[in-house]
Amino acid sequence: MAMTMNGEAVLPAPRETVWAKLNDPEVLKACIPGCQSLELASPTEFAAVAKVKVGPVSATFKGRVHLLDLDPPNGYRIQGEGEGGVAGFAKGGANVRLEEVPEGTKLVYDVEAQIGGKLAQLGGRLINGVAKKMADEFFGNFAKAVGSENAAA
């Protein structure tokens, strides 16, 4: 099942700072919902484990996260795919653009995600909502990470 969504957030930090955070594995780890580990395999590739919990469902996905089309400090594409065992698989990506605005940096994202296997077979009504929630959480967490860092500084 495939779905797409998009959104944007204005972050109170300069674009270079935001860009650096977008490339910081520790920040990414803290922002990916349910992320249990994120290990650097190369500067643009990570091995990731994330535990996804939605209501009664919980599934652990193991896979890779890649950073592609790097265009500092304007944006990149973050892409991942994971195997969730019985639950099936998930893959998806987001195009992230950073624009300078008077308040700081505007982050604009387009996400597309696809799942297969048991979750796709059984979870039809929930897939969109879950994907949206996870994207919102990721970028929400990211905004917080940028915000708190900035406030602390």
Binding site: M1, A2, G88, G116, Q121, L122
Partner: protein, 788 residues
């Protein structure tokens, strides 16, 4: 008619065990030492398998084996087959891709079988399956039929580089084109016949067993045709020679076609039983059933009907794409061809018909016969285009049909079939009366006052049942002849065992077949037992599908009974010391004509076994006769179904308010059972029209893989039905039977859609006409009305 003879609504003899929980279905059977199989299935619609690492799974305590396609190949186990050869227009044979029971190198749909784990418990098997690491190279899938045949589409089987299985046709193209050239009016429609999942309530199950001492196998399985399963497993797949393989189909919880086929799981259970040296049991869960049972229907069709200035039909042209899924299932190739196009004449006198069918591979579950198999698809085309044509030329749809009905029999259609008998107008007239057609206008106005929209829809269907004359189907590409066998064993005490090659999985054969025996032999029904579903008991048979059990299976029994009576006369002649020519058999007694000397059937049976009075050379002892019956023609049940719906335009909810079915099934053995078959068929047809649809997303994931998303008809989705019949006995079999099992599923879908489109005033409604579909269509209707 006696209380238990032909025509009596005898209560079913099989029911006691079912209503008391004593039915014995495959999963109810527990074999000593049985192990459990669990299949690892592909989560991808299309992928190459680079490697399978099963070491961790094999090392799991309690695991007996993890087997893959490589193991199958190493043992020389053959692939699954498609038993009906179809040739394309250009004479080339259909392109059948290899179909291994466990994937070899590639998976082609979500649910395709990758490996099997055999373990002490199902839980252990599942745990171990999670440890198997499959390295997939994911390939682009193709799910949509139109996309599959486009240049550059992903190739599913190398033998079919354009994903076309066959490009087939039937009929006279030149004659059809000529008819259209002189037409005054041409009606054109585009239709989608939605993909369905059969969903018998009992899922498939199998227990394979191997006896090393006798080197023989036993397979307990949910089959509609255990002998065909044995034949295929033996002759084609090469599991064991036929005499070393016993297939038992015990109580089977519904089939609807989906249990005719020889599937991967059953095959693997038999093979694996020898490998692990223990019985191997597999029971499908419902999600597995959705993924891996053969689906039904799935056509895209464009059709055109040519009419003259008086509204008479001149010609019909039909072009269909049929989705056959990722592999050719056992009978899949014949369903959209010879079970479809020959029915396109419907009940109508159409001088010229031409039909083209393209069979297409996609990365979806295989598609094969499902209740009606080809005939519902044909009826949907015919009854939708006839309805639309009547509306376009402003004629009453009932009158338009009547005007075009075939009236003289036999009638040779332009598409193979020779209809033997029928009275289509009689069924229509009766249906119109039962639905109270003359007051439909008043009922529509009443609905409108409540803000609802009411519509009425007709479906005048015909089907070809009693499949099938062996010579006829042989000439069309069938791998086997479709006769049926019967054996009647009369015991010395006069009780009778009938062994039949038909198989009952809800049809009530233990009752109806016994009624025939009572009728013919004049003995009480409790002295008759019907034996079926075991290849060690019944020598051979073709099984139950295509509404053939009555017309073909019972005809074989009737033939064997005739032989029993003939032999009985000989026995009676010896016993009564009379000439055989003077022996008459009537009301269960053999008597000497013109005398009061007679013996009851049971007494003659005893004499046959005592044999004291025989001269051995003239007459063998015993009373047991067998027969093979090969029909001379198909049978042609027909009828008219009328559906009345009321639509809530605010929500799009369609309520089926009235249903009338008037069917001509020829001679009816048990009206109670026949009506039950009609009810069930209508429910499946209404399900197709309003509720059911298998839906794959663009990546090939089946998103309707449980009852959470696949909408099964429930009690409150349906009304009670008014079911009646007319009768023209079938002339081609000794009992006059036509067949009734599929009629409802064939007739219903166009009746529903015709009713909805009547209510809405336009034709733009697809199946399944879910609330959302109808809501949109109702809005379109409102815009049109506003614009007028």
């Amino acid at each position: 008619m006696t209380a238990t003879g032909i025509g009596a609504p005898v209560r079913r003899r099989e029911d006691f065990r079912f209503i008391t929980g004593q039915g014995r279905y495959t999963d109810d059977i527990e074999r000593p030492g049985q192990t459990y199989a669990y299949f690892l299935r592909s989560p991808h619609a299309h992928a190459a398998i680079r490697s399978i690492d099963a070491a961790a799974a094999r090392a799991t305590p309690g695991v007996l084996a993890v087997l893959t396609g490589d193991d199958l190949a190493a043992d020389g186990v053959g692939g699954l087959i498609c038993g009906w050869m179809i040739h394309s227009k250009d004479g080339t044979p259909m392109k059948a891709g290899a179909h291994p029971a466990l994937a070899q190198g590639k998976v082609r749909y979500v649910g395709d079988h990758v490996a099997v784990v055999v373990a002490e418990t199902l839980a252990i098997a599942k745990d171990a399956a999670e440890k198997i690491v499959v390295d997939y190279q994911v390939l682009a899938p193709v799910v949509d039929m139109n996309a599959a045949v486009k240049k550059g589409a992903p190739v599913i089987h190398d033998v079919a580089p354009d994903n076309v299985v066959y490009d087939w046709h039937l009929g006279d193209k030149a004659a059809a084109d000529a008819a259209f050239a002189k037409a005054k009016h041409v009606t054109k429609i585009d239709l989608v016949n939605n993909r369905l999942v059969p969903n018998p309530m009992e899922t498939r199950a199998a227990i394979g067993e191997y006896d090393g001492g006798s080197e023989s196998f036993t397979l307990y399985t949910t089959s509609q045709n255990p002998h065909v399963a044995r034949l295929v497993l033996s002759a084609f797949i090469g599991i064991a020679p036929e005499h070393k393989l016993r297939v038992i189909a015990p109580d089977v919880g519904g089939g609807f076609g989906s249990k005719i086929f020889i599937y991967a799981e059953e095959t693997v259970c038999v093979w694996a039983a020898k490998k692990v040296g223990r019985p191997v049991k597999w029971t499908s869960d419902r999600t597995e059933a959705f993924l891996s049972d053969a689906h039904g229907r799935d056509h895209i069709t464009h059709a055109e009907l040519a009419l003259d200035d008086k509204g008479r039909m001149l010609g019909l042209r039909v072009k269909t794409k049929a989705n056959l899924g990722a592999y050719l299932s056992t009978f899949s190739s014949c369903v959209p061809t010879y079970l479809y196009a020959p029915l396109l004449s419907g009940q109508y006198d159409i001088p010229a018909i031409y039909c083209e069918v393209e069979g297409v591979y996609t990365n979806t579950a295989p598609v094969d016969a499902y209740r009606g198999a080809g005939r519902p698809e044909a009826t949907f085309v015919v009854e939708r285009i006839v309805e639309v044509a009547a509306r376009e030329i402003g004629q009453d749809p009932a009158a338009f049909r009547k005007k075009n009905f075939i009236r003289k029999f036999p009638h040779q259609t332009p598409v193979i079939m020779a209809y033997d008998t029928g009275d289509y107008a009689a069924s229509l007239d009766k249906a119109l009366e039962l639905i109270d057609y003359k007051n439909i206008g008043r009922r529509k106005r009443e609905s409108a006052r409540k803000g609802k929209m009411r519509g009425i829809g007709f479906s005048a269907y015909i089907e070809a049942c009693g499949i099938a004359p062996s010579a006829a189907v042989g000439s069309l590409g069938a791998g086997v002849g479709l006769w049926e066998s019967a054996e009647v064993r009369v015991n010395p005490v006069g009780t009778v065992e009938v062994l039949t090659g038909s198989h009952s999985h809800g049809q009530g054969h233990e009752t109806t077949f016994a009624q025939l025996v009572c009728d013919r032999l004049g003995i009480p029904i409790d002295q008759v037992s019907i034996v079926h579903g075991d290849t060690d008991k019944v020598q051979f048979g073709m099984g139950t599908y295509g509404s053939r059990s009555g017309a073909v299976g019972m005809s074989a029994i009737a033939k064997a009974l005739d032989k029993v009576i003939a032999k009985g006369k000989k026995v009676a002649a010896y016993a009564l010391e009379a000439s055989e020519a003077d022996i008459e058999f009537k009301d269960g007694r053999f008597g000497v004509a013109g005398t009061d000397k007679s013996l009851a059937f049971g007494e003659v049976a005893l004499q046959a076994y005592i044999a004291h009075k025989f001269s051995g050379q003239d007459l063998e002892p015993g009373l047991k006769e067998g027969a093979f019956y090969d029909p001379t023609n198909f049978t042609f049940p027909s009828g008219v179904h009328v559906c009345e719906v009321e639509i809530d335009p605010d929500t799009g909810v369609t309520r089926v308010d009235r249903w009338v079915a008037v069917d001509d099934f020829g001679v009816i053995i048990n009206p109670m059972i026949v009506e039950g078959q009609v009810h069930g068929g209508i429910a499946q047809g209404v399900g197709q029209a309003l509720l059911e649809g298998a839906h794959y997303d663009a990546s090939g994931q089946l998103v309707t893989a449980s009852y959470m998303d696949y909408c099964m008809p429930r009690a409150d989705d349906l009304p009670s039905f008014k079911v009646d019949h007319t009768t023209t006995p079938c002339p081609s079999n000794p009992l006059g039977i036509k067949g009734c099992g599929e009629a409802g599923a064939i007739a219903a879908p166009p009746a529903v859609i015709n009713a909805i489109t009547d209510a809405l005033g336009h034709e733009d409604v697809t199946m399944p006409a879910t609330p959302q579909v109808v809501w949109r269509a109702a809005r379109k209707a409102a815009f049109r009305t506003a614009a007028e």
